[in-house]
Amino acid sequence: MAEWDAGTKSTVQKIPLLKTKAGPRDKEGWANRLKEEYTALIKYVQLNKGSDQDWFTISSNKEGTHWSGKCWYIHNLLKYEFDLEFDIPVTYPMTSPEIQLPELDGKTSKMYRGGKICLSIHFKPLWSKNSPHFGVAHALCLGLGPWMAAEIPHLIDTGIISHKDK
């Protein structure tokens, strides 16, 4: 995990691991998995709030297959906020969800079509190594968080995005 900064590493270790290997097609298993997902996310959000590092909100549809929310990044004391969404892939949790920030689609080369963030080459192997015990909370912590920290300041500095009040 040389890729991630110390803060991310210590945080991810505090997110509970998930036990149930079940995807959304497995009705019974998925109900259990979903409970674990919510519980792990609640813990993660509480951790963030506790250390005053809250950086996203998230909720899912009733089936737990589509997730959406907001994520934000503070740069030079200004808050930049974006919509976030993703679907749970049919092969979840063997494969990670592909997180999308639709507003940034086409604005950065570190993104696939449709606003899917381009994760580091280290993310998928790490997910794979830890599957099926990583969940949505881990994907946000190890995927979206570091992506925003690397890309958003660059997008602001190059004038590609600007603060809503400007």
Binding site: Q13, P16, L17, L18, K19, P24, R25, A31, N32, L34, K35, E36, Y38, T39, A40, L41, I42, K43, V45, Q46, K49, T57, I58, S59, S60, K62, E63, G64, T65, G69, D87, I88, P89, V90, T91, M94, T95, S96, E98, S109, K110, M111, Y112, R113, G114, C118, S120, I121, K124, P125, L126, S128, K129, N130, S131, P132, H133
Partner: protein, 477 residues
């Protein structure tokens, strides 16, 4: 030579002023010849010349009619400057009509003659069988679109195309799509072009994402008879997607349907690629061992990835598409040897091949079930291969070198039905052919103890709706 005033009154040379046209010049020469022949009073000669004149005249008429057609069809100006007229000759719109039966007849309007020649030469036993074959191509990008074009030109019976994306100008470094396709869905743009190339193919276009729960069900329905989700109606699925998630989805669908498929991939640095044949239960599935890729020989640390997601080259993609469809043709038409894994390292022009045996400890339950079901088939193939290797060895005699091309990841002797442990360690510790490596680690980071200490705690009485509400409540705080 000038046509002016030298011919007799019946000569067509009068209204054909422009003698620089070769046909007209020819005609005028003939006129001169005729007057000379007339002087000789030889009736026979005269008759022959008349006939010649007739034919030249009709040629002229046809050429003029064709030129007239061209002028009507082509918006290109044929006016003044030299050479423009020649260019416009090629812009006439030609429509390729449907052809009921493939013919080997060599005619300039038969697109199948060179393909059917494969049969005449004895390479393929029954080429026309391709018309009974249906192939599904998932991912119509740099590899998939080219593969579709190849299959279309080869005259495949049915072609199902899947992609969720639209054509962008940024795709123009790849083959197949043209700037005027920008904004169209990739599947519709492909159907439009391919139907013009070969209307005999039955095209189906699926603009959708197969990785969502809904998308997966639609995908499975579309490749099964009457959408029953059980009985495959395609002969082969080709994976031309660019990500691990979609490959895993195709793997899952094909395991559930016992559908043979081929996986293809180009590395993110654009200088290596591979194809892999997957027959559920008989060969390794995509989940049996971590994905195998060709080592590019480039040190990850020296590879600069800042500011880019992935590179792509039309050359590498075109080659991988070529490998993929070549293997497809061999498989569908039963000729040559179908490659189980073929890699391409563009930096060194190195093409490793290997067989990949299924992993008895595969994490996919459907795969393990099929491995038991097809144990006999694997055994049969193993014996056939051994017999063939002996033959090759005898042929090669003393010159035989170590065969680096057919190393198996898991030896067939691996304990059949052995629990996860034995199989997995076997697969991971197995020897890969030179130049091939795993692109991902296996799932082993978390042992039972770690899990126990760090696992999420849920109660059976926990209500999933309550938990969802709790999470949502945190959003508003």
């Amino acid at each position: 030579m000038s046509g002016e005033g030298e011919e007799g009154p019946s000569s067509p040379g009068k209204e054909q002023q422009d003698v620089t046209h070769p046909m007209k010049a020819f005609s005028s020469e003939l006129s001169k010849l005729q007057s000379q022949v007339q002087a000789l009073q030889s009736t026979k000669l005269q008759e022959q010349v008349s006939k010649l004149r007739e034919s030249v005249k009709s040629i002229n008429e046809r050429v003029q009619a064709a030129a007239e057609d061209l002028r009507k069809d082509a918006p290109v100006s044929v006016a003044d400057s030299k050479g423009v007229a020649t260019a416009s000759k090629y812009s006439r719109a030609v429509k390729r009509e449907k052809i009921a039966k493939m013919s080997a007849e060599v005619k300039d309007d038969n697109p199948y003659s060179r393909l059917m020649a494969l049969q005449r030469m004895g390479i393929v036993k029954d080429y026309e069988k391709i018309r009974d074959k249906t192939v599904a191509v998932v991912g119509i990008g740099g590899v998939g679109s080219v593969a579709c074009e190849m299959l279309t030109r080869c005259g495949v019976g049915g072609l199902l195309m899947y992609d969720y994306d639209t054509v962008e100008l940024a795709n123009m470094n790849r083959l197949f799509f043209r700037p005027e396709h920008a904004g169209m869905t990739k599947t519709d743009a492909a159907v439009k072009t391919l139907r013009e190339i070969n209307p005999d193919v039955n095209f189906e276009s699926y603009h959708m994402n197969i990785t969502t729960v809904d998308g997966f069900e639609k995908f499975v329905a579309s490749i099964t008879r009457d959408g029953d989700g059980k009985t495959p109606r395609v002969d082969l699925v080709l994976s031309c997607v660019d990500n691990y998630e979609a490959r895993m989805v195709i793997n899952q669908a094909c395991l559930e349907l016992e559908q043979t498929w081929m996986e293809s991939g180009v590395s993110e640095d654009a200088v290596s690629g591979h194809i892999q044949m997957i027959e559920p239960g008989v060969t390794a599935c995509f989940e049996c061992v971590p994905p195998l890729v060709v080592a590019s020989g480039i040190d990850e640390k020296t590879l600069k990835r800042e500011g880019v997601c992935a590179a792509s080259l039309p050359t590498t993609m075109g080659m991988v598409a070529g490998f993929l469809v070549q293997n497809t043709l061999k498989y569908l038409l039963n000729f040559g040897e179908v490659s189980m894994y073929l890699g391409y390292n563009a930096m060194k022009d190195f093409f490793p091949t290997m067989d990949i045996q299924p992993n008895p400890g595969c994490t996919n339950a459907a795969c393990c079930k099929l491995q038991t079901k097809y144990a006999g088939e694997r055994d049969r193939r193993k014996k056939a291969k051994e017999a063939k290797d002996v033959e090759v060895e005898e042929d090669a005699g003393a010159l035989h070198e170590d065969n680096e091309w057919s190393i198996s990841v898991v030896e067939e002797e691996a304990p059949a039905g052995a629990g996860g442990q034995g199989g997995e360690s076997e697969a991971q510790g197995a020897e890969l052919a030179e130049g091939i490596e795993f692109s991902m680690p296996k799932a082993d980071a978390i042992d039972e103890k770690t899990l126990e200490e760090n696992a999420v705690e849920t109660n059976d009485d926990d209500d999933v709706d309550d938990l969802r509400a709790q999470l949502e409540a945190l959003n508003s705080k």
